[in-house]
Structures are given as C-alpha cells and as structure tokens.
Amino acid sequence: MACSRRNLLIGAGAVIFTTGVAKVALAKKSLVATQDVGDKRYGMVFDETACIGCTACTDACRETNNVPEGVSRLTIERSAPMGEYPNVDYTFTRVSCQHCDNAPCVTVCPTGASYVDLKTGIVDVHSDKCVGCGYCLAACPYQVRFFHPETKSADKCNFCRDTNLKAGKLPACVESCPTNALTFGDLNDPTSEINKVIASNAVYRSKIELGTEPKLYKVADTKGEIKR
C-alpha cells in the first residue's frame, strides 16, 4: 500500500483539525468554576443591598481554606448604626482581595511569589517562594494581606483557587451566602451571570483612581456612605 506525500499531509491535517476542534468544544462545555481551560478573568460582585451581615461567608472561608483564628482572608465590615429605634439600620461591606489586574502587591514582590495567574486572572501567592519581606502587605491599597501564622508567608483570598475552584465548586463565601449577595464568574464571558449583574446594577469598585483595576465589584447600598 502506497502512502503518498499528499495522503500523509491530508491525514495529518485531518488529525490536527479534529483534535483542535474537539479541544475547543470540550473547553466550551466545561464548568464555569474550573480553571485550566483558557483565558478567564474571574471576578466577583458583592451586593451591599442584599448582605445581612451574618458573616456565614467569613466562617465558610476560614473552614475551607484552613485560615487560623486571628487572621482572615475575608471580613464583613459593619457600619455604625443609622437611625433611631425601631428603624436602626446598618450597611455592610466586604473586605477581601480585589484581584487587581494591575496588582501593586505583584509589582513590589521581589521574589515573584506574588503573581497574577494568567489563566484565571486570580492574584495568588507561591508560599514557597515568599520570603516574608512584607512589601506586598504594605503595597496593597485595600489592606487585605496578612502573614499566615503557620506557613509564615503572605496570604490572602484567592477565590478558593486551590480548594473549591479546583473541585469544580464556587468559592466558599459564594456557596455559603444565604441571601445570594455574592456573584462569582468570568468577566471575559459576556453571557456570564456576573456580567449581567454588573450591567443591571449601580456598581462601584474601590479606589479605582489608583489604577489597580480591581475585579471586586460592589452594588452600592441605597443608604449610608459608600466605603471607597
């Protein structure tokens, strides 16, 4: 049986074409929360109007990511009371890593421990590369970094990249929220839930004037002062 050069080329082309297409098709079908599938830009929306300040999210985060007491990747900040009894109200806001596209903590890191994962847009830390200089803690305009008491390296929210996301689930805080105040998803996908929420609400991001390009959006509460 003769295998001409032409046939070989056609065959090779067919193999490349089919595997390539198959790969793209597979990638399209994959879960939103999986990470190794291409250029995602994960972001989050925190709806201040929906948050009730129960802090179920902070506890879920602590459990899922083994964050010891005394430090936290995520806190919910409560405002001072507004109004008089029985109409006293509060506002709540989320304090956690904003996953900046232009992250100062990454720029200042001398060892490359702090990095933006290009596949997901998540800002994360290689704990084995971190020397504990603390530059990133000082550089972060949102003051959300801390030294992990056990690993002694800088630590912060990474959207549960190595825990829940890896397991194909949503971040722990999103899963635990009883009022659906948190929306997580791919900002690059125009049809994603997060883009719908951003498009249909009055959202803001903290300290955008610094040029950090944060990916944590907040739906502003209708009452009280916006905490920028």
Binding site: I52, G53, C54, T55, A56, D59, R78, P81, Y85, P86, N87, V88, D89, Y90, S176, P178, T179, N180
Partner: protein, 201 residues
Amino acid sequence: MGNVKLAIRTTISFLLIICIYGLNFSVAAESSDHDALTTSADSRHQVTFIRDSDNACTQCHKDSKETRQGTHGEKATVKLGRDLKCVECHNTIGPDHRENASQVTTYSAAQSEVGTHKSLLDFDAILKATGNCTECHTSERLQEKTWVHDVHAKKATCSSCHVIHADGEKEGMQALERKAQIAQCVDCHKDFNLIKKDKGE
C-alpha cells in the same frame, strides 16, 4: 344479732358526739378570730399577703415557674427587687382564657417577611407584641448586646430567636455557639430567598 345492732348504735352515737364536740371548737376559734380583728382595727394591724398570686396559674401550668428560672430567674429578681409574677408578662388573663387563650398575652415566633416556618405579622403588630419585653429590655440595652436586635426590632418577635421558658439553663440564641447562631440567620434568610426565587422575583 342484738349485739351487732347495739354496737352499731353506740358507734354512731359516739361519732355524733365527737362531731358536735369538734364543731364547738371550730366555731369558738372563728368567733375569737373575728373578735380579735374587730378589736385590733384601730391599733394598725399589718396585713401581709401570704397568698401566692401565681398559685392559680401553676395549678395547671405546673413547670412554668421553674422553666422561667433560666431566663427571668435570680438575675431578674435582683434587678427588680422582687420575683416576677406570671401576669407581668402574660397580662389580661380573662376567666375563659382556656378557650384558645384569646385574651392572654402570649409570645410566639413571628416575622414581617413571608417564611415557611414562622407566622406573618406586620411591623406594628410586631412592635406591639414585643412592647412588653422592651419595657425592661430597652432598645439601648438591646443595642449594646448586639446590633442584630436593631435590625429585627420591627421585623421579628423576641420569641423568634429566644426561648423564655427554657428548661433549666438557657435555650435559644443565647445558648448557641457563634457558628450555630449564624446558622440561625441563614435558616430564615435563605428561606426568604428561596421563596422569592420560587415566586420568580
């Protein structure tokens, strides 16, 4: 036979004599008491109530006094300088209060938003229902304890989270660990969300 009859007759007459003798004594005692009262009217006799006003309640609600101790027990007595009585919280008890307890002030879980488990009341009804509690547990003191009181002031009754007649020690919110307390928030608020979702809001 005659002996038996005689024995019965003597027994009956003996009993009769004893009864008359006893009656004499009691009448004498009453009359002397009556005399004493009338004579001491001008010498300012101090009358002290020895009757327990809760007695009528505890005849049926046997455990209620003990089950209250965990929440409104010693501490409340020290603060008030006296023991709390049933009617101080459960006022307007009518004579026919057993018929669905229509007149008695009772306390039950209720909220201003539609939920699966708790009954629904409007803001005014909730404020009215908690009015008796907030007389002592003032809004300032409640706020000092936790901000959660503030946001639920007109949205849930106290009994939605607290158990007043707890068995022995504390039950309800105060007995729970931080995590279990948060679970209580989640229980109701998740419920609201699911109901809203079902309605398609």
